[in-house]
Amino acid sequence: MLSLRLHRLCARSRLQSLARTYSSQSSLPPLPPQEEWRKTFTYQTVARRDRVFVRTPQAARSIAQSLFTRTPAATDKGKVVIEAFPGPGALSRALLELPSSTVRKLIILEDDPTYLKFLEPLADADPRVTVVPMSGHKWDTYSHLDEHGLLDDVEACPWDATIPDLHFVSHLAHNVYGEQLVAQLFRSIPERAWLFKYGRVPMSIIMSEWVWSRLTAGPGTSRRCKLSVIAEATADIQDAFDPALVSPYEAHFYPPPAVYKKGLSRKPGQPMYGITAVPYVDQVIQKGMTDQWDYVLRRLFVLKSTVLKDAISSLAPGAVTLLKVLGDASLPRDQRVNVSKRIRELNVADWALIHRAFDAWPFKPQDLLIGDAFMPEE
């Protein structure tokens, strides 16, 4: 208890100093006082309860401050920022406190009417803001941005050139949809789909420790999963801000922590992390191969603690034959995979080799999209 209080005090002193710097600029319509949030932003429904967002202006500021330090705008024209899942907009407000040489345009994606009530006034108060009343979880929303020319002023950059002046910022919902979304965003990188048609757009995502630890799990760790491999293969991932700045959860985030069981869980209440991902110029996953990678990873991670040579038959009937290729002694050492490694111990280079062998195998299954063996239930 004592240490907790100390921690909180420290954090506060630092945040206050930051706040002082910018408080003079803030002329934005304010959010309701904290004590009213419970009433204004009720969270009885499952959908609302999982929508975690920054609650205090101080925390929002410290996040906004660090977001673009690693990927500054190429020119002093500033960046076009798309912010998804803002909630009532604490972070949006902090982003707008940044000068237009940093943020030249802020597109806010939110479909919850309650939150929209506190977002729409921002557009009136600051010409940089566009509020799109649609969910960041739907692809329709991004088509909408294109169709309405909201991104017309973003210049697409060639993949191997500098990064474009477009930046994606998002809170991640604390549920399976949030996890799906982050996985899909990373999978869009090799295909140059979604915003990546503009080039190597950086993504800054604020997420729970649960997702973060999976996303950043290195080879051999227990959290290692499909997401970790795809993320590791596609983008350079760095902390977007110091997690200590927004700790503990209950002081800086909303809604209040759910009562949860011991250990990590998907539920709100755990420490929060932020990452900024910048796609690599050289992609291990070739364009058009993402689905196949996805298949191979999914089939093998079902047995993540099993050694590769035992797990491989899970890929497809007869896949044992791939072991010959993978461990072929006539190949140079760096072209071989140690088949005695457990699935979760494999690194991206190993995965690339496994994928290559699978791709060349004439008997690989044709239906990679459908992984499940189960028939639709009658």
Binding site: S313, V320, P362, L369, A373
Partner: protein, 1273 residues
Amino acid sequence: MPSPSGSEKRPSSIHADMHGFLNRRSPYTILPTPTPEDVISQPGDIFFTDSPTQDQVSVIEACLRGLHDVPRAKGIFERLRSTRQGDPILEARMYNSFIEAYLEMAHREELNRPNWLEDAWALYNDMERGHEKVDPTPNTYALMLQAWLRYNPDSSRQPVYISGAEVHDPVSLLRNIIGRQISPALVVSDRAFTSNEEATEAIKALSKAAAEMGLASVVNELGLTEFLGKQIEDPLEDVPEVVPVMRPKKIEVVQHDDGRVTQLATDEPLPERAQGEVPFNLETLRRHLSQVVLARRVLSEDVAARQRLLEQSVYSVAVERMKHQAEMMDQLGLPSKGLQSNDLKSWMWEWHQKLQQRIKAEVENLIVEERILARMKRRSTKSEEILLSPFLRMLSPEKLSLITIMEMMNLHGSGGVQDGMKTARALLSVGRAVEAEHKAEICKKNNISIPVPAVNAPRAGVQNIFTGDGYKDLYARRVTAAKYMEDAEEWTSDWSQLIRVKVGSFLLDCIMDVATVSRTIQDPRTGEKFTEEQPAFSHSYEYQRGRKLGVIKFNPAVADRMSKDPIADTLHPRHLPMLVKPKPWLSYNNGGYLYSRSWAMRFKDSREQEIYLRHASEAGRLELVFAGLDVLGSTPWQINRRVFDVVLQVWNSGERFAKIPPAIPDEPEPVRPENMDTDNKAKVVYLERQRQWMQNKAANHSDRCSVNYKVEIARAFLGDTIYLPHNVDFRGRAYPIPPHLSHIGDDLSRGLLIFEEKKPLGTRGLRWLKIHLANLYGYDKASFDERVEYVHKHLEDIFDSADKPLEGRRWWTKADDPWQCLATCMELTSALRSPDPEAYECGLPVHQDGTCNGLQHYAALGGDAQGAAQVNLAAADRPSDVYTYVANMVEKQIEEDIKKDDPIAKLLEGKVSRKVVKQTVMTTVYGVTYVGARDQIERQLKDRGDIPAEMCWSASAYLAKNVLASIGDLFKGAKDIQNWLNLCARLIAKAIPQDRLVQSFTEPEKPNARSRKKEPRWKKEQMTSVVWTTPLGLPIVQPYRAVKRKQVMTSIQTVFISDPTSPSTVNAQKQASAFPPNFIHSLDATHMMLTALECRARGLTFASVHDSYWTHASSIDQMSEIIRDTFIALHSSDVLKGLYDEFRERYADYKIPLVSLRGNAFKKLNLAPEQLGLTSEDTKLLTEGVAEDEEMLDEDALALDEDEDELEALTEVEQEKPKKVVRKRGPRKIKSEADIEARLAGRFINLVDVLPPLPEKGKFDVKAIKESQYFFS
């Protein structure tokens, strides 16, 4: 006018005594509620044998078999006898097996002989003393008699002197035999005697003893026995023609109630000569006795021969066929052999060659390993290790290999796994198949004569079965036959799940290792050919609803053949129709197939159900259920040859046609959109369509496999008369046991089947045939006259369909049920073209279907006039159709929404047919939830195919909402009863038997029990499931309990297997929500059984698919009357009152913890404080409590590998996802929650005191259905 609108004074079509029978208080089967697993002193033990005990018993059997390890068996046996005395698992036949084994050992080990003999006599003496409640049987006496004959001190052969146990001479034995009222004839003909000499010797010894004792009747009986043994059975068969024919005597033997066989009457003295010439033959004696004892004709050998062959030699026939196929391939010099070939049978032959070698070697290894292990562990006798080798040695490696291969093939596509199966199910199935085959071998070895039902009337009795005497007669006959069968069969034990899994895993491990196929593929780009040898089966894990499940998958090459090759050969006969009338149901686990063990009920992983059924069966309460099943099983069928020819032609063409899926899926693959790689939106739409397409493709493949089975089976039985043995599900609904081809199957199966018997149509029959045709076409909402008119208008089409089914205009293919329609077109055409249509002999089954049968029962139960009118209980000029009514209401709502510019409403305009809403309306009565309704509708929309795949979900959500709203108060009357049933079940599921409650307070807490849960003990004691008795006396036990699964590590995978022998707490939620539908089903099942029995009594052919009753066209009028009269009889008996009375008696001593009565659900109880002995404040606490504190189970935990009966899916209530309990007022509320708990804790009330009163009955008189034409139509 024979139709229901006939005269008032018409005599009832049914036995007058049925009313009395249904009005009697049906005898309840009441057993103690199972106790929680952690309770040590268990009174319920006697009923619920636990798994470890079951395991030990299995080990005993395995050790005794072939005298594998008799000392070990003896050790376990003695321990069991001291610790589990009175457990029904310790039965006489098991004791006999020991005596037999001891005698065998005595025979084998000369040095040890006195000891073994002493053991045998000691065990016999224990049985006679009766302390262990195990009475000697004829087999026991036969064994002891044998022991005496072989080793008695005066014997000239091998005298053995025993000091440690009392030895009995024949006089003493005979005294005991007579004392137990056992017929000496049964003793001397017992299977213990294997040679004619010994049997003769036994007869002599007993005769001598009887003479000494002055028992003239016994001397006579034994004389008769000897005489019977010398009789020639069947002069035409057994006597070679060169031998002068000896005329057999007309013999009449009378069996007394006590089993004695006494009198023999011959009309003329037997010629001396003949007697002398025929030597005594034990087999002959046994057959004669079975004839006599069972008082019915024994099946003549040739009629039964094929069935016998089919069931007995299934594995050897299979191997012959596979071998034959492989040899053919060789001879034809087809591209190399075995694996290279592309033929299922050749593959299976190859696997079999390798597998049996492998199994042989592995078993030998195992034996050595286990022997070493046993030596190491000899000292520690703490627990009896289960060794596998004894079980694997019971069958030859060859048989084990075949069983494994055939089971694997048969599990293809089971459990919802595409081209594969769930590992857990595979392991269990293979284990079970080995167990079953072992038992069948024992059964065969003992060569039991199987009784068959007499030709007419249910059972042999001609008496009215609804009278007391008639019923008793039925009972007596069945018990005699059952006893005879049981005595004749050697003891075998049931295996526990663990042993099945272990045996299964051993064999699966072997087959997965050796079975391979050679697969060739052509690269579509380069045209290059690749060939690889791949495993035929592989295992992996899949995620299903977030849970990881082990699955075994077929290699694509094998899966491909499953939809093409003749596969009927891979089927076990228990999956096929029978060639003879099924064995009558002699007890709950004896009937149906001759040698394959079948149960009269399909248990849902619930030992409780089995025990209730056994008790009811033993107490003679199930006679009518058994008799009803016998009626259903004895209906003779044939394959409709004309339809079959058309089916075959279509099948071979490989085209999509009238519900037969095409050989190559013909749906075009969705086109990849150009911008798919960059536009994630386009990709999502494409993926959804692609997924749908792939699913359709997979469904097409599995449909193709399933049709393949049907066509193959039909082909195999062309020209045969076939029978479908039936059993019931746990609600009492009857189903044919063979799964692939039966009249309960789809339209194709039904079209392929026809009654074997043909009957002239007559005027009325011709009319019904036409109405039937209109019904099948889908024109079933009009009046009967209009339906006839409809057929007359389409006569051209009908003739064309019959004459040129494929080449013509194909009118029939547009019918709702095309194949049945075709069959009817053919019959009608033949009839109309015959010189005298009314004399035309027709075997086509004509159906009478209840209109929304569930609602009909509700309306009758509640006397609900409005409901009765909706579902045709009340007479009307036209049939009323609830489904169309609701569909129209929904269409109206859609029109409204279109005005509001709703895109989904626009999409659905004009697409809401009766069919879309039908299932949902039907299941509303059974309490379908919104989620369930949405899924049903989604399926229907997908089937329509005119709604884009990615829109189906939202469209079905929209429709489900509107359908449920439209149904609204349409079914008000049903709703009241539903609520009442639900509330009763809810209370019962919370209740605890009083004695358990008392005990649970006094019992010390187990110290080692993990006490992290602070919940009160009584929560663990809520073990009471809802049990009731149908008017026919069948006890129904709802199986829903918390799912507990044990992890079992096998060499293949780790699987989770539920153990039906360790009951857990009830799932109160499911007990309550499933009770209304289950109760209604138990009623419709009763109605069907009554109708079946009456139809048989009137000589009508009968078949049924739940609420669809079938008979010959000419018999429809008669059946219609019976249907109505049985329905009236059933509902005149005030069914709900009966249920209420039963609950009051059954649960008289049950208590409910007050705390568990909190919540909304119980507000309906309107409990008065004084009723509960509470202050009004406490009552207020109760009723104001927040959302009910259900022990909601994690829904996912229920999902794992449930052995779902597919047939259940339609009506079983879906369980709603556990609702998140929403805390409305924050922490303050929680505190008051705890307050309530504290105030009410430890207080209990009587269940019967709070049972809600019956809902008031309406004015509708069920007798009015006599006048309703469209009640069933």
